[in-house]
């Protein structure tokens, strides 16, 4: 019962701050809302008893990604700091239409489908041992490829963002 009340509080807060990310008129506010939203989804992983993913979420999204985004916001600042500016284009109403349609479709599918093997009641929980065994026994090649992808992506990012002599 307490869990459910907490869950609903977190869910409503996540939807609210995510709406803040999308609708806020100052970019810095959007970034701060994004941090809160990512942290809230991390709390959702705790509700799902998957503490490993929650940890990864807090570390990588809450830490690294948001720092990168804040840095990029500072480097690409156009107007006066904190001054509201028009942040949506003429295409905004069509975007809203698409998003609303998609939302109702997704919710309809999620609610109306009978998911096979749904445990329904209490979750057995997924331990880090299970994740590690699965990861390194069955997904070793994707793991190595992802490592190479990360390396290549960050070298590429450095090369692209580097200040050249001619600039």
């Amino acid at each position: 019962m307490t869990t459910e009340v907490l869950w609903w509080m977190f869910a409503i807060a996540i939807v609210a701050v995510s709406a803040g990310v999308v609708f806020s008129r100052t970019v810095i506010h959007s970034a701060i809302f994004l941090i809160l939203s990512l942290a809230g989804v991390g709390a959702m992983y705790l509700f799902l008893t998957v503490s490993f993913i929650a940890l990864v979420q807090f570390l990588i999204y809450g830490g690294a990604v948001t720092v990168l985004i804040l840095l990029a916001l500072m480097l690409t600042r156009m107007g006066v700091a904190g001054k509201p500016e028009p942040t949506t284009g003429v295409q905004a109403p069509f975007g809203a239409l698409v998003a609303l349609g998609l939302m109702f479709t997704l919710i309809g599918v999620a609610v109306s489908t009978a998911w096979p093997g749904d445990l329904g009641g209490s979750l057995p929980g997924v331990t880090i041992e299970t994740i590690g065994n699965e990861m390194f026994n069955n997904y070793g090649a994707p793991f190595i490829i992802t490592a190479a992808l990360l390396l290549v992506a960050f070298i590429g990012a450095i090369v692209i963002a580097r200040q050249e002599d001619g600039d």
Binding site: W7, I69, G95, L106, L123, E134
Partner: protein, 102 residues
């Protein structure tokens, strides 16, 4: 206990908000932040499915790990491109960066 559908509905709402942000926003960094929202919704979906339907094999959780890793690579690369765009064009507006060459 919260039923699984709750997580799916929450994830659907988050994903739709992200779609709206990607379609409507003009600042490239804000578009990227909306993409992060969408990726988060997807991993929440994966993890919810794994925790409720498949806790022994945890396939969805493995997927979520890869989604997070690829999202980190994507955000690093995309922000580098945004910074380069801003340096060359003095704008981070995706509507003004419509040509593929200069």
């Amino acid at each position: 206990m919260v039923p699984m559908e709750n997580y799916l509905v929450l994830s659907g709402i988050l994903f739709s908000l992200g779609v709206y942000g990607v379609l409507a926003r003009r600042n490239a960094v804000l578009v990227l932040m909306s993409v992060e929202l969408m990726l988060n919704a997807v991993s929440l979906n994966f993890v919810a499915f794994a925790a409720y339907l498949d806790p022994d094999k945890a396939t969805g959780i493995i997927f979520a790990v890869f989604v997070i890793a690829v999202a980190a690579a994507e955000v690093g690369l995309a922000l580098a491109i945004v910074i380069r765009l801003f340096r060359n064009r003095s704008t981070a507006n995706v509507d003004e960066a419509a040509t593929m060459r200069w």
